[in-house]
Symmetry: C3
Subunit: 154 residues, 3 copies
C-alpha cells in the first residue's frame, strides 16, 4: 500500500493497527454518499485495552495517548472504507470524543487533543475537524477513551 | 401498510408503537438529502417508560430489552419519515446509544446490542450500522437507554 | 450584515457573540456538501464561562439559560460557515445536547430546550430539529452545557 498519506504515516514512524472488528451485530463503518461514519473506536494498542478513568487513576498525558490510539484505529477503519487508499480522504469532518472520567474532571479537550493532533499531523489541513469532547461516566470494558468519526472521501 | 419490511416486522411478531411525539420544541426526525436524522428515542413500551440504571438496579438482559424498545421507536419514526413505506430504507447508517449506568458498569455494548440485533433481524444486511455505545451519568426521566439514529432512505 | 434572519435576531433584542475560537487543533465547523457540522459549543456569554452541575448547584432555569447561550454560539459559528448570510440556512438538522448533571438529575430535555426554543424563535419552522439530550458526568472547564449541531445550508 502506498500513497501520500500512507507515506506520511510511515514518516511519522507509525503503523496502523489491524482495523478492529466490532464485538457485536454492527460494523466498523458505513458509507453513505461521500460520508463515512466510523463506529466509536475504544482505546487499545498492541498491548491490549487502554483502561482508566481520568480524574481517578489516569492523568491527562496518558489520556491523550489513549486518544491517539483511537486516532490510529479510526484511520485503520477509514483505510478499509477507502479500499486501502487513504489519499481518497477529502476531509476529517467531525469527531465525538467520550472521555471516561470522574464528575470533577474538566480537561476532556486536552485528552481528545491526542486524537485531533495526530489527525492533523497525518492529514494536514484536511485533518482539521469539528469536534465535541465530553465526559462519559464509564465506557465499554473500562477503556479510557472512545472516539467516533465522520469523514468525507472521494 | 404493506411492503417487505412491514411483512418482516409482522413475521417477527412485532408491531411498531405510535411514533412518540417529542415533549418539546423539536421534531422526531429531519431529512436532509437522503439522510434521515432521528431524535434520541428513550426506552419505553406499552407499559410506559422503561427506567433503570445499569450497574445499580437493572441487569444487562433488561437493559438490552430496553434498547430493543428504542429500536422499535426508531423504526416507527423512520416509517413516518418514509411516508409509511419502510422498503425505502437503504441503510441503517449510524446509531449512538447512551446507557444510563453507574461509573463502574462496562457492558454498554451488550445493552445496545438489543437495538442493533433487532435492526439486523428486520432489515438484514441493510440493518448493519456503525455505532457508538457509551454511558450517560443519567438520562431523561430516568430511562435506562436513549438511542439516536441516522438512516439513508431512497 | 443584513438579511431576514439577522433582522429577526435583532428584533429579538439579541446579538451574536464573536464565534468562539476552539482551544485546540480542531476547527469550529466543517462543511461537507450542504451539511455544516458545528463543534460542541460550551455555555458561555459576555460574563465568561457558565459553569454548574444540574442537580447539584444549578437549577433547570439557569441550565436552560446556559443552553440558550450555546444556541447563540452555534448560530455565530453557522454565520461564519454561511459567510455572514444566515438566510442561507435551510434547516437546523440535528442537535446533541450534553448536560453536566448528577446521576439523579433527569430533566436534561428541559435544559436543552433553552437552545431548541431559541433556534425556533429565530429560524421559525426551519429551526425545528432532531435532537438528543443526555447527561454528561462532567464537561470541559466545568461548564453546565455543551451542544453540537448539524445544519443544512444553501
Amino acid at each position: 500500500m502506498g500513497g501520500r498519506i500512507a507515506d506520511r504515516i510511515a514518516a511519522l514512524g507509525l503503523s496502523l493497527p489491524e482495523a478492529p472488528a466490532p464485538a457485536a451485530n454492527y460494523v466498523p463503518w458505513v458509507q453513505s454518499g461521500s460520508l463515512v461514519f466510523v463506529s466509536g473506536q475504544i482505546s487499545q494498542d498492541a498491548g491490549g485495552l487502554i483502561k482508566g478513568k481520568l480524574g481517578a487513576d489516569m492523568d491527562v498525558a496518558a489520556g491523550a495517548a489513549a486518544a491517539r490510539a483511537c486516532a490510529l484505529a479510526l484511520i485503520a477503519q477509514l483505510r478499509a472504507a477507502c479500499a486501502g487508499d487513504l489519499d481518497r480522504v477529502v476531509r476529517v469532518v467531525k469527531l465525538t470524543g467520550f472521555v471516561n472520567s470522574t464528575a470533577e474532571f474538566t480537561d476532556q479537550p486536552k485528552v481528545v487533543n491526542g486524537c485531533s493532533d495526530l489527525l492533523v499531523e497525518i492529514f494536514g489541513d484536511a485533518g482539521r475537524h469539528a469536534r465535541s469532547a465530553v465526559s462519559a461516566a464509564s465506557l465499554p470494558l473500562g477503556v479510557a477513551v472512545e472516539i467516533e468519526g465522520i469523514f468525507e472521501i472521494a
